[in-house]
Amino acid sequence: MSAPDIAGGTAVRPSRLAGLLGRAVRWREFSIVVVAVLLTVYFQAVNDNFLTEANLQTLSQFIAASAIIACGEIMLLICGEIDLSAGHVFALAPFVMYFANQAGLPIWLALIVALLASSLVGLFNGLVTVKLKVPSFVTTLGTMYLLNGFTLTISHGSPVETGGSEDFANIMGASGYAEILWAFAVVAVMHFVLRQTRWGLHTIAAGGNLVGAAEAGINVAHIKVGNFMLTSVLAGFTGIIEAFRISSTDPLAGGTGIMFLAVAAGVIGGTPLAGGSGTVLGGLIGAIVLGVLRDGFTLQGINAFTFDMIIGAFILVAMISNIHMSRLQRIGRR
């Protein structure tokens, strides 16, 4: 019995499809990569110190922190949630490490304790959101203030010097490229998780069709809580490596600034705020775009007052061209 063609909608020939589909996966990131390259060319043209070794190191430090936290936020965005408290776990974790170290634990163990503490914050965020059915925006807003106050209290508002031997500090972020190497490692792992594991697939399912995913038997509560914990651990880890980089553990570090940078990196890279899909590689490129903008304009000598205006204008231009490029790609696909 011949198989009738059920295709009632788009009729695409299989051979051309293979080629198109092969690139469809990278489609989403393609346009933002173009934007990143164009920006780099621009800044190098304006200031030939841009692509020097010294500045590449500096640039890598502008990028690393938001890239790592973006990995977590992207997973949450995909499954329909968000974590506003990430920047404050960033500030708290190094203090937990400091106090654990003061209490006698060797620095590497203190670091692990700090990461465990961060995961507890994520657990709290996840349980309140999923079990008590509070929208994650509101939950993490509350957590953000809680953490801020808590960090200020335990630190008495004063910064302290980050501990650890010089070697340990160098591995964990003090030496020039340490941070960006950590960032690449985290991005590589999270990219694998999102694309090649059940966890990633189920995260997409929970975001794309929550009811359907539950009907298929996926434990969506498990997925969401797990992603909250993941994000908090990544945020805590980032706070710790930044504390090693600048040798100072400061209660005012991080905050909503780094959280927004991370979410922005994710969105600029191609993860919609509405959820259901996302790209970790795109998040890295988004972080690169933001880092290039911030470092490039600082290098150029733009003064603080006009700085934000110019960054804002460039982000808009970059995103408008990105979205239009994506639109053209999609039309071309049809």
Binding site: L17, T197, L201, G217
Partner: protein, 254 residues
Amino acid sequence: MSGAREALRAEAITKRFGNVTALDGVSMRLAPGEILGVLGDNGAGKSTLMKILTGYQPPSSGQLWVGGEPVALRSVDHARALGIECVYQDLALVNGLSVYHNMFLNREKRRVFPPFMLDNPAMRRRAREILEDIGVDIPSVDLEVERLSGGQRQAVAVARAVGSNARILLLDEPLAAMGARESALIIDLILRLKAKGDLSIVMIMHNYAQTLDIADRIMLMQHGTVTYERAAAETSVAELMEIVRREYRARRGA
């Protein structure tokens, strides 16, 4: 029915939600390889019966037999393990995922090494096999399901259910919101499935004419009870409509 063991049998199923009685002593049987059409208006209890048969909810009282063995379904997974699969009205498909990922949702194949890594090539292959086996032509299993037409999506949802070694397939309004052409194609699919011989199918429908075309037997439900049961060939749309009207008038009169 014949001497062969029934695929599915229910006796005196009752379901109460507080004061409301959704099902009031429903009995039914499904022969192997048969298509049973369950008809009835909204509120007749069809969805509730479906939920009980898939293991989503337990009955307040009554007994079920699967393949001749008495069972008490503990969960959806338990029902699945016994070969009962359901295709819900909303299809439970994830738009952002490909056809083959949807077909293996929560049943994904994984490689031995590296650990945790999905075995996409194996899933792709098997997805193609299943689709071919039931005669569904999708251009590519890599397409995201949001790019398929309504009929193709329904077919993928059915293929997912069939592909997990179902013996009893429950379809909730499979032809809902479909035009004539797409309905014809899905009907063909259902008949092909029946022709394979190893599936028994229960379909919840509201279109009497289509149901009589496809089903072997029909069961009419009204207000939580089965009011009429007949082989499809032995009844007609007119007769069914009359039964419904009679019951409606009787209620109004009372």
